[in-house]
Structure formats: C-alpha cells, structure tokens
Amino acid sequence: MKILTINIFIEVACLFIAFLMLKSDEKVFWKMFIPYLLLTCFTEIYGRYLGAFLRQPNGWLYNIYLIVEIAFIHFILLKSIQPFFRKAKLFVGISLVMISIIYFFESEYLQTVGFYNTTFKLFSFNTIVLCLLFYYGFVKQDNYVSLKLYPPFWLVAGILFFYFGGTVMNFIYQVLTIEITPNKTIRTYTNHVLILLLYSFWSYSFICRHQTRKLQPSLP
C-alpha cells in the first residue's frame, strides 16, 4: 500500500509550482499559498498514514484542517470579491459566522465522531455562492481585463469546480461508496478529478501571477 496517492501527488506538484512562482512575490496574500499547500500536503500524508497504515481514526485531523481550509478559502474569496463589492467583508463575514455556528454545534453539542460533514456541506454551499458572486461582479464591471493576466479568475474557477463537484457528490454519497476496483470506490475516482481540477487551475493562476509581475512590476 502506497502512502503517496494520486491526490497527494497532485497537491505536492501544486506546492512545487507555488514555490517556484510565488517565492519572491511581494504580496503576502500570494506568499500564503505556499504554507497553506504545505499544510495541505502534510495533512493528507499524515491522514493517509493514520487511516491506511495505522488503521486509526483520522477524522479529528481533517476537522482541525477544516478550520484552516475554511479560513483560507474565505480569505481568497474576500480578496477576489473586494474590487467589485463594497460589502464583500459583510458577505464573507456572514458566511464565516454561519459555518462557525455549525462547526461549534457539531463539535460541542452533537460531539460528532469522525469528519464534520454538515459543516463541510454548508462550507461548500457558501463557497459556491461566493464564487458566483465573484463572477457576477466580474461580468458587471465596465472595464476589460485580460484573463491571461488575471489570476483571481483562475483561483476562483478551481474553487468553484472543486466545491460544486463536492456538493453534488455529497448528494449521491450512498452510490459513491460502491467499489469498482479493489480498494477504490467511485468516490475515490471523482475525488481525483475534482482535486486535479482545483490544483490545475490554482497552478495556472500562480503562473499567471508570475507573468503579470514580470510584465507589470508596479502592479499591486
């Protein structure tokens, strides 16, 4: 049994690209992708080690990671939406409050064993809404922006695909647990596709950001 799954491989590849493209970026926002992806890779590797090798529950690890994921994704969406909406902080704030309440409810009140699915479902739904808000703001603006030099477009695209796909998968969860190859369920394969989409778009956005900085050194 391998510790490095396809998902981990994709995440490590994205981390490598992030390091190459963003290590000398002046903006803290972009530099933060490197430690975030590093944490993601560590969580995945350790989670796999706990679950597949030591046969121990690893839900607690992903629940802790979920806090970081929620915060970081909301941070990305806030920075992306802010140029279009003055009330961006309010929208993102409301989403975070809603998710925090459910997270607290699941952990303290329900004392859920395993992964906090309800929190994740709400988080996915809110993320989709914020992504659609971004695209609405983008289309609404008067000025033209070249997509090749606009990294937020690709960041949000990756997030939209991943969480939209993830939300749909949650609705048909029972079907997804069916094994189609030894030790691999349908869910495994759909997860590969969604992870690939997310990190491919993110990698492209990092390359985009790097190109933009090279062409326009004075860009904020």
Binding site: A157, F161, I172, E179, I180
Partner: protein, 259 residues
C-alpha cells in the same frame, strides 16, 4: 453484481460530467462576455479617433474658409481703397518741388502697400497659394520672411521631379510650415531658418531647422501648439519628428506619403 457496479460507475461518471458542465459553461460565458467587452472598448476607441479626426478636418476647413474670406476682403475692400487713394494722389497737381517729392513718396508707399496687401491676401488664400505647387508656395513664404531682415532664410529643394500633385496634402504641408515658422518667430529668438524638401521613396520630407534657443520636447509636447501640429500631420497620414535641445536649436521633420 460486478456489471451492476460498473453500470452505476458509468452513470456516476456521466452525471459528474454533466454537473461539471454547469461551472464550465459559466466560465465560458464569462470569458466570452469579457471578449465582447474588449471588442466594444476597441470599437468605441476607433469611433472616438474617427470622430476627433472628422472634427479636426472640419475645423481646418472652417479655418481655411475664414482665411479665404479675410483674403478676399483684404484684396477687394482694402485693396480697392488703397487703389483709389493712389489714383486720388495721382490726380493732385502741385507746383512746389518739395510738395511734389512728398506726393511721389506717398504714392510709392501706397503702391507698396497694395503690393504687400496682395501678397498677404495670396498667403491667406490657401487654394491660390498652392495653385502653382508646394515649392512655389514655400518660395513665396521664404520671400515674405526675408523682407523682415530679422532672419537668414534658406530653402533647399532636393525634389527634382515633383510628384502628384496632391492639392490637399500640399495645403496641409504649407499650413504646417507656416505654423512652425510662426512658432519660430514667437518663441525661438532664432536668426537662421533652413527649410528642406526631400523625396524618400514614396514620401515627401519637409524639414525646418532653426538656430534658436531650443526647448525640452517632452515638457512642451502636451501643449496646444505642438499637439495641433501632430493632429494636422495625422490628417494626411504623416509622421512628425521634433528634435530640440536647450541652446541647440530645433529641427522639425514632417514625413508624408505622397502623392
């Protein structure tokens, strides 16, 4: 059971594909809308440029018409008055030698005024100036300048066989020359002006050089005077280059496809 699982897997795969089509189409729509925005902006800029060019052409036409009217008025009205004055002076009989000399001098001054007025009217009347070609028009202008005795003016014509003619371009080139000379008189404190006309493949190159105080081109480029020169040159698909430095004089070169 295996087949059933495979069928389910196929259904799920297809369903995933269908569901992922939704965000994919959203991104395609946003991308397409963004491209249309770009085309709209380019089209708007093109229309704006065309409008400005049309406006400038109309302004120039109005200017020419106004100068034509002034030239006609000068020639017809004031010219007539001076002619009558000359006739009236000519009809006076004086016996006194001193008075006769003064009368003769007055008649000469009036005749000179009529001649100068005719030349001025000709310079103002655009179509008349370039009737015999750009080269003759430039010679006229340099003759007019030399009269003031403030400038040493040289015109070097390197165009052996003058192509065309293109009356519209000739007139615009001549007006540009007049504007440049005007600027030299107003700002440069120059004493020498050299005008050169060259032929370069399909283009005509008109250069005006002076030995004046010069200026920093970038500082003055945004001003109305130079801006007018650039805009006028553009109306005949020409290019203008200004080379100048403080205390080193100025050279303005206008290259125009001709005819």
């Amino acid at each position: 059971m295996q087949t059933s699982n495979q069928e389910i897997a196929t259904i799920v795969a297809l369903s995933t594909l269908v569901f992922l089509l939704a965000p994919a189409f959203l991104l395609l729509y946003v991308s397409s809308y963004n491209r249309r925005k770009k085309n709209h902006i380019i089209e708007k800029q093109t229309l704006q440029t065309e409008y400005e060019a049309d406006l400038l052409r109309t302004q120039l036409e109005v200017q020419e018409q106004t100068m034509k009217t002034i030239a006609a008025d000068l020639h017809d009205n004031i010219g007539q008055l001076l002619s009558l004055t000359s006739l009236t002076l000519g009809s006076i009989t004086v016996t006194d030698d001193k008075a006769a000399k003064k009368l003769e001098d007055s008649q000469q001054l009036v005749r000179r005024s009529i001649k100068e007025l005719r030349q001025l009217a000709n310079l103002l009347h655009g179509e008349k100036i370039i009737e015999t070609g750009l080269v003759d028009a430039i010679i006229h202008e340099t003759d007019w300048l030399k009269k003031s005795d403030n400038y040493r003016v040289a015109f070097i014509n390197n165009v052996e066989v003058y192509p065309g003619p293109s009356k519209e371009k000739d007139l615009v080139l001549f007006r540009l020359l007049q504007e440049v000379i005007n600027n030299i008189i107003k700002h440069s404190s120059a004493t020498e002006i050299t005008i050169t006309l060259d032929r370069l493949e399909g283009d005509i190159l008109l250069s005006i050089t002076d030995n004046g105080v010069g200026f920093v081109v970038e500082e003055v480029k945004g001003g109305m005077g130079l801006s007018n020169l650039f805009k006028r040159t553009k109306t005949i698909q020409g290019e203008i280059e200004i080379v100048s430095a403080i205390d080193k004089g100025t050279t303005i070169s206008i290259k125009v496809p001709y005819p």
